[in-house]
């Protein structure tokens, strides 16, 4: 008989032991947690409320120290831990019991929709879930994408947020928090000198801290300058959601004060997969489709005259619709990218939703 080795690396989908022994082991662990929670909570409650009246707490003293059980804080800490063990153990056991005797499909069918008896069909059937009753399940609704009316076209598309904006926000937070802390420490040092109780260690520490604060503030200013220099990118579209084979008109506007080596507008489709690797959650992307709608070299944009362009395009007739599930996605977007001088290169993405061909009628709010 081969004994299971808990330290062996699990490879692929093979199981080290039997599924049954695994379930038994898990149930024993959860039951142990639950019983330990019951025991600890009972012990602490007895110590706090009953032992004083009985006048004998020798048993509880052996398990729970006076500091932990007698003080209010200690009592609540032990109680919270006990309740956590009760919830974890009890909930886990209930979850395991539900899983016994029910297939994955049945659990999924029961979740959120309810299994109903169907006497006429000679079996028990499940109503479709509310998500299945939606016109197109797993296709993003994209309601937020049509909230903004455009000036030149029907809708102004929203950007999915650039990294540069996040960098500016992060550097601003770091700079403000660090320098605010530095000024608090400065106030402590000054008050020490004023009261003839100087804090020399803190005084000397203020110098390197000031250097870090200055670096953070300069980094924030540089990030802000870069973002402000590139300017806003505006993308408007004639209709939304998109359907394969249908023609659409796109309006692009790029403002700012910059010289561009190259400006490129693309229609792209990315596949996104989320998966666990050990304890890490990873996202992998693959460009499934890319079509350059417009490209222009050596372009100069000044703040008073933004670059504007109107383009026509259509999706391929066999294009896959937008898809979004818990771990996988097919995303369509329009990207505007530029190699800029003196600012760094930028790339703005504007997600769009693609419906399958001949889907349900699209409501036009305008």
């Amino acid at each position: 008989m081969r004994l299971p080795k808990p330290w062996t690396k699990k490879r692929g989908s093979r199981l080290l032991g039997g599924a049954f022994s695994g379930a038994i082991g898990e149930a024993m662990l959860l039951a142990g947690l639950f019983l330990l929670g019951v025991f600890t909570s009972a012990l602490v409650l007895f110590q706090r409320f009953a032992a004083a009246s009985l006048g004998a707490s020798g048993v509880t003293d052996r398990f729970v120290s006076d500091e932990a059980s007698s003080s209010t804080l200690g009592f609540w800490i032990v109680m919270v831990l006990s309740l956590a063990m009760l919830a974890l153990g009890g909930g886990g056991i209930v979850y395991r019991l539900i899983r016994i005797g029910a297939s994955d499909e049945r659990r999924l069918a029961m979740a959120g929709r309810g299994v109903v008896g169907d006497q006429t069909a000679g079996g028990e059937s499940a109503r479709p879930s509310s998500s299945d009753l939606a016109p197109m399940p797993t296709v993003p609704q994209g309601r937020g994408l049509t909230d903004s009316p455009g000036v030149h076209q029907s809708y102004r598309l929203a950007s999915d947020g650039s990294n540069q904006a996040r960098i500016v926000a992060a550097s601003a937070s770091l700079s403000l928090l660090w320098n605010a802390t530095w000024f608090v420490l400065l106030a402590v040092v000054v008050s020490g000198f004023l009261n003839d109780r100087p804090r020399w260690v803190l005084t000397f520490l203020l110098f390197p801290f000031a250097g870090i604060g200055w670096w953070a503030f300069r980094y924030f200013l540089e990030s802000l300058k870069k973002t402000a220099g590139v300017g806003a990118t505006i993308v408007e579209i004639s209709d939304h959601p998109l359907e394969p084979g249908e023609p659409y008109t796109l309006f692009i506007s790029q403002s700012g004060k910059l010289n561009l080596r190259r400006l490129r507008i693309e229609l792209v489709c990315d596949e996104e997969s989320t998966y666990r690797q050990g304890t890490d959650l990873r996202i992998d992307r693959h460009r499934a489709y890319s079509h350059i709608l417009h490209t222009q070299r050596d372009l100069t944009i000044d703040p008073h005259h933004p670059w504007e362009q109107e383009l026509g395009f259509s999706l391929p007739a066999d294009a896959m619709h937008s898809f979004q599930s818990a771990h996988n996605a097919v995303c369509w977007k329009i990207t505007v990218s530029g190699d800029a001088r003196p600012w760094p290169s930028f790339c703005q993405s504007f997600p769009v939703v693609v419906h399958p061909p001949a889907g349900p009628p699209i409501r036009h709010p305008r």
Partner: protein, 142 residues
């Protein structure tokens, strides 16, 4: 809802010592590829042992459901979306038996590029001699 799907199942031969505890039929989609698997059961039907006793299992028994418009079957690099009819048989002896019939959910708006097709498979099951399941994908939008 989109097209309607009709599927049927039958169990060819059953060994005498095998007692069937239940049978489940699901119309579902699942993802394959690099990411963690996502799956969703669109239609589910279960027959208990009492209900199965009233049926002649060697004869075909069918069920129908309306399929949603999406997600369409997709063959990508990182993501693949598969539709199937899955039959799960619970036996008193041994493990559950699963027979799965893939089909493609497609749009008929683009003829020649996306076409529905019929898929029939026979699944061999250890405990039951000659279990088979058959599913039929629709030819057009209803």
């Amino acid at each position: 809802m989109g097209q309607s799907l009709a599927a049927s199942w039958r169990i060819g031969k059953i060994a005498p010592e095998v007692v069937i505890d239940g049978l489940e039929a699901s119309v579902m989609w699942y993802t394959e590829g690099k990411g963690d698997e996502d799956l969703n059961v669109h239609h589910f039907r279960r027959w208990s042992d009492d209900q199965l006793k009233e049926l002649d299992l060697t004869q075909s028994h069918g069920f129908q459901c309306s399929l949603p418009l999406t997600p369409l079957s997709y063959e990508g690099t990182l993501v693949r979306i598969r539709w199937c009819v899955r039959l799960r048989l619970f036996c008193s002896v041994g493990r559950d038996s699963v027979a799965q019939v893939p089909f493609q959910l497609t749009s008929d708006a683009v003829p020649g590029l996306l076409t529905s097709r019929m898929a029939v498979v026979t699944a061999a099951v250890d405990q039951l001699d000659g279990t088979s399941a058959a599913g039929r994908a629709p030819a057009g939008r209803s």
